[in-house]
């Protein structure tokens, strides 16, 4: 299906998310849409898939103007979209997710559908169990399910919005292979991403958006510099590792045993030095998140102890950890980190280290918010509610809310969903704090990020934790093997050496 956008405009209040967009996409190609966070990619795709209506402009399918009223309408035209946050039903089984929305008689035939499902998935080398519950699947598997569902619904054009966020390397391979098969069959694939390397290896042509405007279109092969320049309007360089770790111990785990069903982690011993950055690597759900939460008192360890600057805080709650200079920035910013509905100024009010009287000095916190907005380059106003900010800005806001005098910051996916520029900025700010002696503990699914910024690395594999590996002597390849469960014997050899060294 050939798709053409003509003069598409869409605003959300004062924000112009899409400005006069004009371009077309040929069937049988994989077309990339590249742009940093907030560039307007998702908005345009939601317009194409009927989720939003454009303020003005036209969409042409195979040369004919169409009006797409709803997502159901879009699928009738053969357009299916894989949303950035998976739109599926976690407590239901795969096969039920597959059936919901399908036209047909009152009582769906499971047997037949399961048969068709299996037939369809073998074409792409997927191996999902139709009876499995969706909340037991990884992000990558949920994507596979959604792709199969859209194809089964008759999608001729498939939109994928940031599909490589949060999936493993193998799943990415599988996904790309499937997309190539589909393009060969003559389907139109639109691949939305802010990741240069994904777009470069997959897409035949790419449109670059910046601040709602189409900056240009480029065919493969690409020059990375050129893409970066079009995305950001300027050339940026990656920052490097920080080597400021000092030798006094600020944090210690002793024989920790934690469990959050069905994940259990046993016998973790670890010491964190002041100013040190520790990366926790592993596939999603390998136990990193459980251990991290145990480190800040959100999950109580079943045995063992957690010691913060010489003080035993085992079994204490998060509040107690906070009082001792530990702070946690969770991945789900809006669920655990920020409070939707409150403005930035109000966030500074509740997070402030200023002594709290009964009454609030509103002006003071407004000014403080303005100052932080400036310092952290947050695009927003002190009176903006946090949910109105884009992902990158929410992350900066969360960071700016952390108190200055912290001894340890724990972060979960600090740069997930951020574009390169925001990510580098984020790390710049974190490193400033390391210089002042703050230690950092972070989880990331991005192995390069782990290698680049950590001093030492803990690798997780289904609840097993490696001894700390030195980031300088660890290669990307080695790390990739470890998170996939390979090469662990060697790691434990290292541990034995490490322990005997420690004893001697």
């Amino acid at each position: 299906m050939n798709i053409e956008f003509r003069n598409i405009n869409k605003s959300f209040g004062p924000v112009r998310a899409n400005i006069d967009l004009n371009f077309s996409i040929k069937s049988g190609t994989i077309y990339g849409i590249l742009g940093e966070n907030g560039a307007g990619k998702s908005t345009l795709m939601k317009i194409l898939s009927g989720f939003y209506k454009p303020d003005s402009g036209q969409i042409l399918l195979n040369g004919k103007p169409v009006i797409i009223e709803s997502p159901a309408d879009a699928i009738k035209y053969g357009i299916g979209m894989l949303h950035q946050d998976p739109l599926d039903f976690p407590p239901m089984r795969i096969i039920e997710n597959f059936i919901v929305g399908q036209k047909g008689g009152l009582i769906p035939s499971y047997k037949e559908t399961i048969h068709e499902f299996k037939e369809l998935q073998t074409k792409f080398g997927f191996t999902l169990d139709p009876e499995a519950y969706v909340d037991t699947l990884t992000v990558g598997e949920r994507q596979q399910l959604e792709i199969l569902r859209l194809l089964w619904m008759g999608a001729n054009a498939l939109i994928l919005d940031e599909p490589t966020t949060g999936i493993s390397a193998q799943q990415k391979e599988k996904l790309f292979a499937a997309l190539r098969i589909l393009a060969e069959q003559g389907k139109t694939i639109i691949f939305v991403s802010h990741k240069l390397e994904d777009v470069e290896i997959l897409c035949g042509k790419v449109a670059i958006l910046r601040k709602g405007i189409l900056v240009g279109e480029l065919p493969a092969p690409y020059q990375t510099d050129k893409l970066v320049e079009m995305m950001f309007g300027k050339v940026i360089t990656l920052g490097d590792r920080n080597n400021v770790s000092q030798s006094n111990i600020v944090f210690e785990l002793k024989n920790i045993f934690v469990e959050q069903y069905p994940m259990r982690i046993e016998n973790v011993n670890f010491r964190l030095q002041a100013g040190e950055v520790i990366g926790l690597a592993g596939m999603e759900g390998s136990g990193q998140d459980v251990l991290l939460r145990a480190c800040v008192g959100l999950i109580r360890p079943i045995s063992g102890s957690v010691i913060v600057i010489g003080k035993d805080l085992t079994g204490k709650n998060y509040h107690e950890f906070m009082k001792n200079g530990v702070s946690f920035l969770p991945a789900s910013r809006l669920e655990e980190g920020l409070v939707p509905g409150l403005t930035l100024a109000e966030h500074f009010t509740i997070a402030g280290e200023e002594t709290k009287g009964l009454f609030i000095d509103k002006e003071y916190f407004k000014q403080k918010a303005e100052k932080m907005i400036d310092e952290y380059h947050i695009i927003g106003h002190q009176s903006s509610t946090v949910e109105s900010l884009s992902g990158g800005n929410q992350q900066r806001a969360a960071l700016s809310l952390l108190r200055n005098s912290l001894s340890i910051i724990l972060l979960e996916h600090p740069t997930r969903g951020l574009d390169i520029e925001s990510a580098i900025y984020m790390w710049g700010k974190l490193k400033e704090r390391c210089m002042l002696g703050t230690s950092i503990f972070f989880i990331s699914g991005d192995l390069e990020e782990i290698l680049q910024y950590s001093d030492r690395i803990l690798v997780f594999f289904s609840g097993h934790v490696s001894p700390p590996l030195d980031a300088v002597t660890t290669s990307l390849d080695q790390l990739g093997q470890l998170i996939g469960g390979k090469g662990w014997d060697q790691v434990f050899d290292i541990q034995e050496n490490y322990e005997s060294n420690a004893k001697s």
Binding site: F89, M92, V100, Q102, I107
Partner: protein, 332 residues
């Protein structure tokens, strides 16, 4: 002989559980769509009174039940309009309606206090009534009791086995995902809120025309039923069969209170009458024990095999609410 008494008692539990079953299934349907209708307690009282009144005037049971259903549907429409269309707090609106309807019932019901009205008689099912034991318990009941039993299975089948039922689960779980799958989320939320409300409204006259005949104002003894229905909906994990089990459990506890009264003269009769309410709440807490941290720690001390089994049992007992329960849906 005493065996017969037990069978009669159990038949009574099935009958007195019927209105609770119907109301719980109504609320389950509503909440499955993501809407909480908190007005139940008032609606049951108001429909009980009005349904009874209509039956007294017209001498028709059918019209009485119809009136109750309409009251329930009407109040549910108010809940739906203010929460779905106006996007107001469902809790606030429901709560105010619960209190208003209750006061209205007591106030408007004065003229018919103590009137004689028609009573629904039982009609036994030929052949089935002769089945030993079960026949006595299940098949010598009133039409509405049969309806309540049928409803359990129809609702269960609808939610879990049919296409619209799957979509209903989706609407309550993640409305945006249901929307991209072609659901008209707002319309379906209206439909299920009103249908659910109508069922709750049916429970009212079922009391005054059958289970506890007559309207006696504040001593009719129906105050509080609506709140317990809300608790049973949670206990039931939004599953009609489990919810019905909860409803019968509550009816059984109430019956037990009556039966034990003569033997427990030292306990004031009010205590035995009220006891089922806290007991039901305890049951609710019990099924959700797995949510507590001390439970995790307790389980951690068990041997591995036993622990895993215990965790499994606790997981199946626990009830997970629909993901989007109580949150409005907005498309840009």
């Amino acid at each position: 002989m005493s065996g017969d008494i037990i069978l009669l008692g159990l038949a009574g539990v099935i009958a007195s559980g019927a209105p609770i079953v119907i109301a719980v299934i109504g609320e389950t349907l509503t909440e499955r769509a993501g809407v909480i209708n908190l007005s139940l307690n008032g609606v049951i009282l108001l429909s009980a009174m009005l349904g009874f009144w209509v039956s007294v005037e017209t001498n028709s049971l059918f019209l009485g039940f119809l009136a109750g259903t309409l009251v329930g549907a009407l109040v549910a429409t108010i809940v739906a309009f203010s929460s779905i269309t106006l996007k107001q707090s469902q809790v606030a609106v429901g709560f105010i309606l619960a209190i208003t309807c209750r006061d209205l019932a007591y106030f408007l019901g004065n003229p018919i206090m103590g009137s004689q009205g028609p009573i629904m008689l039982s009609s036994s099912v030929p052949l089935l009534r002769d089945i030993p034991i079960l026949g006595k318990i299940l098949f010598q009941q009133s039409l509405m009791t049969y309806l309540s039993i049928i409803l359990i299975f129809v609702a269960w089948y609808w939610i879990f086995k049919t296409r619209p039922g799957l979509m209903l689960q989706g609407i309550g779980e993640k409305p945006a995902a249901a929307f991209v799958r072609g659901a008209n989320v707002l319309k379906m939320r209206y439909v299920y809120t009103i249908v659910g409300g109508a069922l709750v409204g049916l429970a009212g006259p079922l009391y005054t025309l059958s289970v506890k005949p007559g309207w006696k104002g504040t001593i009719t003894g129906l105050d509080g039923i609506g709140w317990i229905v809300l608790a049973i909906t949670i206990f039931g994990g939004w599953n009609p069969v489990r919810a019905a089990f909860g409803a019968y459990l509550f009816a059984f506890l109430q019956w037990l209170g009556l039966v034990l009264q003569p033997y427990m003269t030292s306990i004031p009769s009010q205590v035995l009458q009220v006891a089922p309410f806290p007991l039901m709440i305890l049951a609710l807490l019990f099924v959700n024990l797995g949510n507590t941290e001390w439970m995790d720690r307790l389980l951690a001390t068990l041997p591995e095999k036993m622990r895993l089994r215990a965790i499994k049992i606790i997981r199946t007992m626990q009830s997970q609410p629909p993901g989007a329960l109580g949150t409005p849906f907005e498309r840009q």
